[in-house]
Amino acid sequence: MEEAIKMTQTEALKPPVTSVGVIGWAKNNLFNGWVNSILSIVTLFMLWKIIPPLFQWAFIDSVWHTTGKACRGIDGACWSIIPTNLRFIIFGFFPYESQWRPLLAMFILFGLLFYSRERKHWTKYLGYGWIVGLFVMGLLMMGGLFGLTSVESTKWGGLPLTLLLSVFGLTAAYPLGVILALGRQSKMRGVKWLCVLYIELIRGVPLISLLFMSSIIFPLFLPEGITFNKILRAQVAIILFTAAYIAEVVRGGLQGMSRGQYEAAESMGLNYYLTMRLVILPQALKIVIPPTVSILISAFKDTSLVVIIALWDLLKTTQSVLSNPEWMGFSREAYIFIAILYFLGCFSMSNYSRKLEKELSTED
């Protein structure tokens, strides 16, 4: 009788080879059904046609440290254009011997941004840190104090200019956007319509028209003798543009607040200013952090448009390298390099926004 009941556990049967491992995975994800099988085969064939030649062009046949002339005969990519001209592409006309200054400023910026990633670091002191940081960065760029030679803002260019336009653009546009959003939600008819007019007007026109306005018409607005430099004017255009978009995002947050919040604040005897500052805005602005980050991303990308009004941002310095006869015709390599820089910037921001969205949604 005892043989009939086995006391020890027998080894479990392994699943068939076709449903586990690489084969099982491929069967489930690539070849389930004939439509998917055909799709997979066609896609694999196309990848096989595209990837190896591209790989060969970019890595096998390419050169990395040559002169422009040596690049002419080869089949592969001429990446030499990047290391040879890197300092000009990144820093533009900034005096060569002081280029450590914008570099340091950028490191401070990245450091601050990196530190601000964690939400537990968001305290009053971080705010002070940013103010000090921005001041130090400004000092490093401008010079003129503590024995640093002063550098005209007309010589600013490259990546620092791109970062400057986007960071200052957003910091200044944010409060303006919040005010516009509050104005649009206001009970005062006149203020409301003024804000609606502004927001819809700005959102209806392309950024390029505002940049044209800043570069051609803005000087006409001011009395004779007073001039602003070009970078500041472009910065103003970017701020005015971004503010309208931020206003719409913030309005979304304000509309998401329930009536109860307003009524509770009112019943406690808070006036409009205190209601907004202590009750509504802290909640509304928290909801709209993820869409605000995506506005930051598009502001960062949009700074590239200043090329059209001849500011020396990252794209313009690259183009000027390409107009040098020695490097003419290697646009693909140079543009791919710039594209990678932009991609890294935007991708880390959008990743961060996704992470933040998750954190904020699980909290309550």
Binding site: L30, G190, L201, P206, F212, S304, A339, Y342, C346
Partner: protein, 390 residues
Amino acid sequence: MEKTLPGSVPFWLDPKKRAIMFQIAVFAVVGLLAYYLISNTIINLKKQSIATGFSFFHKESSFEIGESLISYSAANSYGRALVVGALNTLKVSFIGIIITLLLGTILGIARLSSNWLVSKLASIYIEVMQDIPILLQLFFWYAIFYETFPSPRQALSPITGLFLCNRGVAFTVPAAHPAHKYMLLALFVGCVVVYLVRRWAKKRQEKTGKFFPVFRFGIAIVIGLPLITWLAFGAPMKMDIPKLVGFNFKGGITVSPEFIAILLGLILYTAAFVAEVVRAGIQSVSKGQREAAMAIGLRPAPILNLVILPQALRVIIPPLTSQMLNLTKNSSLAVAIGYPDFVSVANTTINQTGQAVEGVALIMALYLIFSLSTSAFMNWYNKRVALVER
């Protein structure tokens, strides 16, 4: 205890009066600022002796425009030049929007595909394209065109009748024939007939419950009518093949590298955003809807047509229109690569006449017309499809 009567509140503490005072103050500040800027502008314009007003519309423009939908030469007026520019903007936006919608929808569906390879590739495409500035993409495609492709003499010809060179793309079209005009007319008539039949079929279905296959009928009519017209004209088969004459192609249709670069850039960039919109729309319809439709015995095609799409479209259409508007606005970047769109023509006009205020105002006005008419349409559409709640 003191009693405060409504009448006895001092006027600066009365919210209504305070609001009025505040608004008067805001308007005064805005008005003063506007007055200050405008008066400065007028003084400056007078000092630089720049003319004001739109009288330059009738003056001779004396600049050439590379491509134009209507006849234009340097002897024509600025007004006509601006119309040419506006038409070019419309042309690139119109073609761009149609192809973007197709590509974006395919990418959005591919992103949700159960095929791992397809879905991963689509998501890589979407992420990469969204994170690279459109202007950089335009420069890139333009550079590819004039650096990679050979001169017209060594033009590449991947398929017969199609030529790629650094002067653009030349492709074969059917040779001009009077039949084409009537085929277009037939197509139009077909669309009208389908519209009427669709209305009739809907009414009949609501009354009697009988179903009429509008979609199949529509396809047959829209393709069939022009085809019959074509056959009635003896099926003209003559093709207009581009030929190399001197340094350029003659015959067929030649599309300039600028146009292709701007079109390609706009399509590839906006399609990534459209794909995200489509994906979000499809995901917004809950699984239960599909399962419920299956439970009452609907087949896959009616499930998509009658259950999924009407609900997904409600989510998709508003962000989709704003993407289409973005595409139109981004077409203004054509000025950077030399495609003669409205901004580019207006820019040349500004440089020649010096009338910057009018020029920029025109640019803004044109785009405002586009966006205001789009949002008017959106409001109408939203009202039409809005959920009717109990």
